[in-house]
């Protein structure tokens, strides 16, 4: 049994190797492109593999642009879109997860499957379907006209992009949230009610605090891909007024002569997302401590 700690640590090896090969090494390659050079003849990115020789001139320009230049608007808009989409995801997803965990009874599994099955269809396919539904002569647009709503959904509207993000990511919020809520000790809520709390107070003072870890995990799970999302905007808008940081990364990497800028934006975005991850890790650690007590 003396060797058991090493044995258990050994189980982490495949995961560690996986992370190294598919995260650390690719991320290092991105950094090497970001701080590398451009081939003077063929104009493609030439990675600088030696960190001691990294050139930060371009990085300075990109970060300045993010802080005070043209990219600032995109960065702010991205944050705004993601925050709005997350709020809507919580508003839609929490009641569903709550209902499934608390009141679905024997139909729980069936309802869960019914909610999730449509999302087995590829994300792009679902968005393309929405493009058809929302087009000028699309079913949804025609249906809304019955109620006097004659809205051009595809005219580059931020609302359409935010709703697209919500539609695309809400199931990824429901699932982890449901997993958390399902494990809650509902007797504590009953106890709160017995002690005089009304349903609102019981929810606010008992259910919500107990769900915090699930909420944070679900929030992180949808926020991370949403911040890098570009295809929702590409499919539903394509207007500069809804441009997100992911679109700029796509442009610089695939459609410009400055692929370095794309790599630098990936790094900037990753640094920003690290804040989220730190918050998540801190929350889970605190939760673990509270549970231990």
């Amino acid at each position: 049994m003396k060797n058991s700690p090493r044995l258990w640590a050994g189980f982490a090896l495949p995961g560690t190797a996986w992370l190294l090969a598919l995260f650390a090494v690719p991320f290092y390659a991105v950094a090497c492109v970001a701080f590398g050079t451009i081939d003077p003849i063929f104009r493609d990115a030439t990675p600088q593999w030696n960190p001691l020789a990294w050139d930060f001139t371009q990085a300075q320009q990109v970060f300045t642009s993010l802080a005070t230049g043209p990219l600032r608007g995109v960065a702010v808009r991205t944050i705004l879109f993601v925050v709005c989409a997350m709020i809507l995801c919580f508003v839609i997803g929490f009641p569903i997860a709550y209902f499934l965990a608390r009141h679905a009874g024997k139909r729980k599994l069936l309802l869960l499957v019914l909610i999730i099955v449509p999302f087995w269809v590829n994300y792009l396919m679902r968005m393309l379907a929405w493009v058809n539904l929302l087009s000028a002569d699309g079913l949804f647009t025609r249906f809304m006209r019955i109620f006097g709503v004659n809205y051009n959904w595809l005219d580059g509207s931020p609302i359409t992009v935010i709703l697209g993000l919500v539609y695309g990511y809400v199931p990824f919020l429901i699932l982890p949230l449901y997993a958390t809520l399902e494990r809650l000790d509902w007797r504590l809520v009953d106890a709160a009610r017995d002690l005089g709390a009304n349903s609102g107070q019981a929810f606010r003072l008992v259910t919500l605090p107990m769900s915090k870890a699930g909420l944070v995990a679900a929030g992180i799970l949808i926020a991370l891909p949403m911040f890098g999302d570009y295809y929702t905007n590409d499919l539903l808008s394509r207007s500069p007024s809804t441009e997100m940081i992911g679109n700029q990364i796509d442009f610089f990497l695939n459609a410009s002569t400055q692929p370095q800028n794309g790599a630098l934006l990936v790094i900037a975005l990753s640094m920003f997302l690290l804040l989220f991850m730190s918050f998540y890790l801190r929350s889970t650690r605190m939760q673990a401590r509270q549970t231990a007590r």
Binding site: P40, F42, P70, P240, S241, T242
Partner: protein, 398 residues
Amino acid sequence: MCRRDFLRNLAITSGAIAIGGSIIASCGGQSTTTVDGLAIGTPDKPIKLPITTEPIADGLASESGTLEILNWADYQNPESISIFEKQFGCKVSTSIYDTEEAAIAKLRNGTFKPDIIIGMTDTGLAKLIAADILQPLNKSYISNFGNVIEGLQSPYYDVDAQYTVPYMIYGNGIGYRTDRIDKNAFTENGYDTLWDAVHSGKLGVLDSYRDTLAMAMFRAGNFDANTTDAAIIKKAGDDLVAMREATNPKVDILAYQELSSGNRDINFTWSGDLFTALQYLPEGVSPDVLGFWYPEKTVAKNDFMCVAKGAKSPVLAHQLINFLSDTDNALLNRQYVGYQPALESITVDLLISTGTIPESLIEALVTPEKYDAGLAQVLLEPAVDSLWLEQWTAFTAG
């Protein structure tokens, strides 16, 4: 990725490499602009490319193996290829490329080993020559070369067409719905039509910084599509921002779909897109709803076919070039591709009389005269290119 992505990337690569530098080298008796080791031709300074290897000998028999083509997706008619296979008793295999840069990178490292490369442009040619990937053509196999538009039989990027034979031509202009916009609007307002707030939410421009910024420059009366003047570039950027605020334009390469479906009234786009748009019209909608305004001064371009240096079937490659330069074969190929072959024999009258193009799209056809009057986009030096990109970012970042 399809033809439209290619065109977007073409404009990108046009911005990729330096023209500035102004190191004038003597090459085959012509003045040539070279920068960073890349020799490029411009309309003012055509280039005769150096010959580093001999073309294939005259009168060789066709190879019996497989002809390997490297081409854009959907940029050749499968029916045309079948006919070629039967006629020459060979098999044809096609590899697809997404961007010129990626294709050249794969040609350099040997991932692609084609016999014939189709759809590259002058900017790509400079790199192909620098990487020593092409072999000179033996015109004795290309008897249809005389069909090529006369002005392109010795293009500025390859004087005497030593390495290339033009494939398709196109120009930049404005596609519109004739059932919503009177064509006289363009006579009266020209490019200003794109700034008209009445089209808000129903307007698109090309997702190509060289093309769209150049269009804004033309509107302002500056007709240098390769300007290095920071003030002119800045003004074009500012004008696009004004357009964005007035019309909330879409920035993409989907004019062919969006005009056909009626989602848009108007779109700054490539002329060839309007021919493709015909295939996307909903059932029962007349082709006459599509119109095109071809500005008097605008960008006109072409791409070409060429043979790879390490080709295993160089004779077949030459024969395919000859085959696609035949008028009837080119017409058949055009039916699928949509774009307009760079052949003198494929006239406006011929295309209209065969009924493949509606009269409302006559303007979208690039005649030799239009091509000659067209403005060329050439490579920009990196510092200038950055200025263009900066303005494009200011526009697209909203």
